[in-house]
Assembly symmetry: C2
Homo-oligomer: 377 residues x 2
């Protein structure tokens, strides 16, 4: 099935940076082209919180992520399949990526037992006892029908002992082979997921296990799970070069703007993170001048837009004073407008990063970001 | 000031119905024309809950309402004045109407004392003791800067004794004269408010007191405060004819679609109500086939739109199954999309009512509504 996927999911590198490992590409999926580096807004339960698909499109989002674990519990993958699949269900006709559900089983749900065969867990919604196998996650993701789907992986905590990290690598490799064998649909790109924590030899072991399976793309899992940013960057330094040049590379669950800049500089192509929308609901906005906590009393009479360089619906029409008022009063429009703005910020960041790669300006862009925004270390 | 207001706020009757008292008009305000009969979405705290102004405009809303009481408490009328007034503050460049705050003082706040001079109440936010006078409500509303503002009135409960209703009528008349004298701005239409409950002689007494003050428009207060729909319609039967033909008539806080149809048939021009947005947040949608409680399990696999005759953002892109899923999961997008839909329903209702007036078809329209929707008695 590998050959067919590679044809349907052509990934063309348009530019490589001279000074860094940054790259710009075009990734063809059944629902459209994704220009990389790309950020996927997170629609956990088939909805990017507070934002209509039409608005997402307007902001420049090209691909969104949805969570298999949540959707399998509610409304159920069969229901979504009955309704024509995830694209139709959530009213988004662009590319979609689903994760495998594994990460949530280990973090959000109550993981009761795991062996090479399957993982048993309790639903965080009703406490019912469920199990997930590699075959089942592929079946569910085929029912959901995203353009890009993920192998089941085991993601241990960042401070797990070396033996546990190594066992997770080996189990993830075995599961990846089973996922690949279980795949029936030819119109979904199945990605393998590297594990191995922050240990170079374990990452090497993971790559050696997965690369022969010839996946059309690879994800880097097991990062952004509590380790320091510096350690994450060092891990990317040695992990990204293990991956094939001609396939997209996806860093799961990352992250802050500075993390994305650092990862793009190291050759990562795809990102997802709840941060822009979650921060928005907590009244925190990303702006070109740094992070703005909009509830602050200093904005009470501030008639300036959130970010004068931003052309989103919030910045085009409303003042900081009004946005503050909405949050102080608990008006829904506050989280809505800040979500729109933060997603606009992230999409502009990705466009700027693409342009920087093409003009050999990534290092300069990184310095400019650190000088201007103060959101990073 | 009356002459000037009449020029700036020209109200032209375009059509009268033959069989009912229904009428269609055009009302000119400083921020644009309002085609009547018109429904004003309610933006209590300078935000129609969950809906961006751009979307309101797209739905056909021409005028919105904001609440003086809430805005005077937060963020304060001076703050809004500093920021250029309510239109600029809330990003709505169309006509706006503000109420006087009186209704909230008697209902939402803790009213501590009232005499002919002023009303004393406790803020529902921080319990602070505040007072409102006719002069002060005009001053606040001039700071807010809406196109249409309201006199301070006393609105007793619908089951108040006759003596209390009569005292409220007389106080409302005295306060109306003081509001008129207090008005400084020439670009706001100040409406008088009739009181008198459901008693014809008290309504007559109220009209006799207010009409000599020559307001550019009149509101009917003291209805939709707990009386039966039939009693409200009977009250409109004798109250509306007391009002001048050539000025807009505004029925405050009403109501259900059937209430609006009945009131338009009796010659009312303007309406406001929280019902479309509040019902939306409670997962209840108005449709041409009747009220839909979207959380109901019967919609779990229903791939039809909420209302096939509706062209709103919710009906154009999403299924009932998806809308149900959003509510079951507690996703913000559920209330957002249902608010958009319910407001679209109300705006379409008003367009249909205008067309029915013009084609002498109000009675038929009313029967069709009752046969189709089942939302009313």
């Amino acid at each position: 099935m590998g050959d067919r996927e590679l044809r349907e999911f052509g990934f063309e590198l348009e530019a490589r940076e001279g000074e860094t490992s940054g790259r710009a590409g075009r990734w063809v999926t059944p629902h459209g082209v994704v220009e990389t580096p790309a950020f996927m807004p997170v629609g956990t339960r088939a909805s990017v919180k507070g934002v209509q698909p039409e608005e997402l499109r307007r902001l420049g989002a090209q691909m969104v992520l949805a969570n298999t674990y949540h959707l399998a519990l509610r409304p159920g993958a069969e229901v979504i399949a009955d309704l024509g699949g995830l694209h139709s269900f959530m009213g988004w006709d662009g590319p979609i990526l689903t994760d495998s559900g594994g990460f949530q089983v280990f973090s959000l749900a109550d993981c009761r037992d795991i062996d090479d065969e399957r993982v048993v867990f309790r639903s965080h919604i009703d406490g019912s006892l469920l199990e997930l196998t590699p075959e089942r996650t592929v079946e569910i993701q085929e029912q959901l029908g995203a353009d890009c789907i993920m192998c089941l992986d085991e993601c241990p905590p960042h401070d797990a002992p070396a033996e546990a990290l190594r066992a997770a690598v080996d189990r993830t490799t075995k599961w990846a082979a089973r996922c690949r064998d279980a795949q029936r649909r030819g119109d979904q790109a199945l990605f393998g997921i590297l594990q191995g924590g922050t240990d170079a030899s374990l990452r090497e072991r993971s790559a050696e296990g997965l690369l022969p399976l010839d996946f059309p793309g690879y994800a880097i899992g097991g990062l952004s799970v509590g380790e320091s940013p510096e350690l994450m960057y060092r891990t990317l330094d040695f992990t990204v070069p293990m991956l094939p040049e001609d396939r997209p590379r996806y860093l799961m669950g990352v992250g802050r703007p500075i993390d994305i800049i650092e990862a793009v500089s190291r050759g990562v192509d795809l990102f997802d993170c709840v941060m822009p929308t979650r921060h928005a609901r907590n009244a925190t906005a990303f702006t070109s001048g740094g992070v703005v906590k909009i509830r602050n009393a200093r904005y009470q009479r501030d008639d300036a837009p959130l970010d004068s360089g931003c052309d989103c619906a919030a910045c085009g029409r409303f003042s900081r004073a009004y946005l503050r008022h909405l949050f102080v009063c608990g008006e829904m429009l506050g989280p809505i407008l800040l979500s729109v703005h933060n997603l606009a910020y992230y999409q502009r960041l990705m466009r700027d990063l693409r342009a920087a790669v093409k003009s050999n300006g990534l290092r300069e862009f990184r310095l400019g970001h650190l000088a201007g925004s103060g959101d990073g270390p």
